[in-house]
Amino acid sequence: MSEPPDAHLVQVAARLGIDLTTPWQRLSGLRPDEVSNVARCLGKLGPTLRAAGGNLAAPVGALRQAWSAPEPVSYLSALSAAASSAGEQVTAAAEQLTASVATVQQLKQSAAQAMRSAAVAVSSVSPAGPSGVLGYDQQALRDRERLICTGLAERLAGLVAELDALLSRLNTVLAGDPGTALPPPSAAVGARADPVSAVERRSAANTAKLNADLADPATQPFATLVKKNLADAAAGNTPVQLLGYDARAFDGQGRVAYSVGDLATADQVVMLTPGVSSSPANTAAFTAMAKRLIAENAVTAPGTSTAVIVNTGYDIPLSGFPGARDPGRSGVGRLLDDASDIAAAPNDDIARAYGPQAAADANGYLMLAKNSALTSGVGHSYGSTLTSQSAKQGAKYDTVVFLGSPGVGRGIDSASAYRSGTDRTFVIDFDGDIVTRGVTDLASDFWGALKDGAKEPEHSWGADPAGAAFGAQRVNTAPTKDERGPLGTASVKNHSMDKYTSGDALAQLSLITTGRSSRVRRRPGK
């Protein structure tokens, strides 16, 4: 937590158009204790790994004597070398962090010292209280104030530059993976291959359910389409894992969630949730988006891998497909179903009701990933409302990204409601998007007034995450092809999920989902 700066000094600087608060918050909010804790942990682990490497190397000679085959000796040597190398890397990282603790403390103290000195100097020139003291040359006084404040601002800027250089160096060190050199299990020494991952077991169980549904006339149309989507997604040897599947969910609308890319080994895991009218039976477009993001992430973060979970696992409004929702019904019954589905779209009712289950779904999938995987919840349109509700209910997302969001759902007024907090919650809203410009809020409010009267005064989709008050990081980007309506008005075409996952927006999304968020372009909230 940063200390409040000297109020009088800040006031004087603000009068002169000099911002002291921003650099002061960055410097005074530094947490050398946190860095020190991590350094201490790594400092204990590094020598342990190095010792393991040495202890594994000790019997290499004996093994060569005891077993004439070359593979066991090679394997033991590789294991020993990898352990030593991991230990050295971890120790080096610990040393870098330890060294940075002193620098961070120094930067913090220097900032505090500079601030105190300037505060004393300013109060001697122009004491707090009523201005316009008789006998002073006002211009000379202003010049003195400006000199002090400019000097302080320059000093703070210099310290911030030092901090940024330190953080960049640390970022490079922390990008390493100490486990890279560890050899895979070797059958040559009698070891079995790694057992089938929990993801594969889960996927196999869901695939068996899907195959059984192909033989049932009630579920056959849905299962056939899902099977084709998965087969198409797997083209080009892409790993595809069926994480969630239920053809009968939501009155036959069905629910499907699958990972594009191997969830068990991915360094980054992205849960991608689309919005209104997305059908679990027709996910080809989402697969294409997932593959685009995976390819982009491979460029943004070379040497890492990404899995994108396509999540059509909630009761998505207007997502039925012909023959799927209550296939046996027709006429008035069918019309009533459709009307109820339409009524669900212009508000957050489903997202709020399903939030806890959505969080449980997300955590169930994410627990299958590596412990060190960076996890992101990304939702488009109504999918952002659901993502918000699931994040609030405890979905374990390191970062959250809202694309073209109509609102985060009622009851949430700040990004601090999520585990990702204000620093790691991002909003991408195109200026020409009809949904993010509030036009749809009017329709929603109108519908809400019809339905509930004046009972719920908030917008029916809740707070706009792009609003300054919400506190999220608003990304500065635009669609590759900006398609406005007449006279340049916002358009529904600019709301398409495809646009939000293409071009520069995709590049920004990639920076966020690979943990390179400091390079994301930002703009002030609305």
């Binding site: 960055r26 909010g29 530094l30 947490r31 946190e34 860095v35 991590v38 942990c41 204990k44 682990l45 342990t48 010792a51 393991a52 594994l56 000790a58 019997p59 004996a62 004597q65 005891a66 077993w67 004439s68 066991p72 394997y75 033991l76 294991l79 990898a82 991991a86 971890v90 901090l163 940024d164 953080l167 640390l170 970022n171 060190v173 922390l174 990008a175 390493g176 993976d177 100490p178 486990g179 560890l182 299990p185 070797s186 020494v189 009698g190 070891a191 079995r192 590596k370 412990n371 060190s372 960076l374 390191d398 990702s420 907090g421 620093d423 943990g515 390179r516 968020s517 400091s518 994301v520």
Partner: protein
């Protein structure tokens, strides 16, 4: 192939002790809350906080994989030694009663 079963069992024991040392390190079992660590405010501070957390997790994961690989190697050595005992025993006479795998 020349295999000294007693030596293999001895080496398996050494690998096992390495695993024990690793498992005994308190950092290996540490659960890191990614939202709990903070380097400081600002975009780069947030990024480094996350990078710091993930590095700690990767170091823990590397240790767990090493323990797992060690266990695989150890069982492979013990299994091979036991298999050779059985082969040698078969060549010498009737199969011995009881478990073939040498006790640790």
């Amino acid at each position: 192939m020349n295999i000294d079963t007693a030596a293999l069992n001895g080496i398996a024991g050494q690998v096992y002790r390495v695993q024990l040392d690793l498992v005994g390190n308190p950092v290996v079992g540490l659960v890191v809350q990614t939202s709990g660590l903070s380097f400081g405010p600002g975009p780069l501070g947030a990024e480094v906080s996350l990078a710091m957390t993930r590095y700690l997790q990767r170091a823990q994961e590397a240790t767990r994989v090493l323990i797992h690989r060690g266990a695989q190697l150890e069982s492979g050595l013990v299994y091979t030694a036991a298999a050779m005992d059985t082969v040698e025993a078969s060549a010498a006479g009737p199969a011995p009663a009881g478990p073939a795998v040498a006790a640790r």
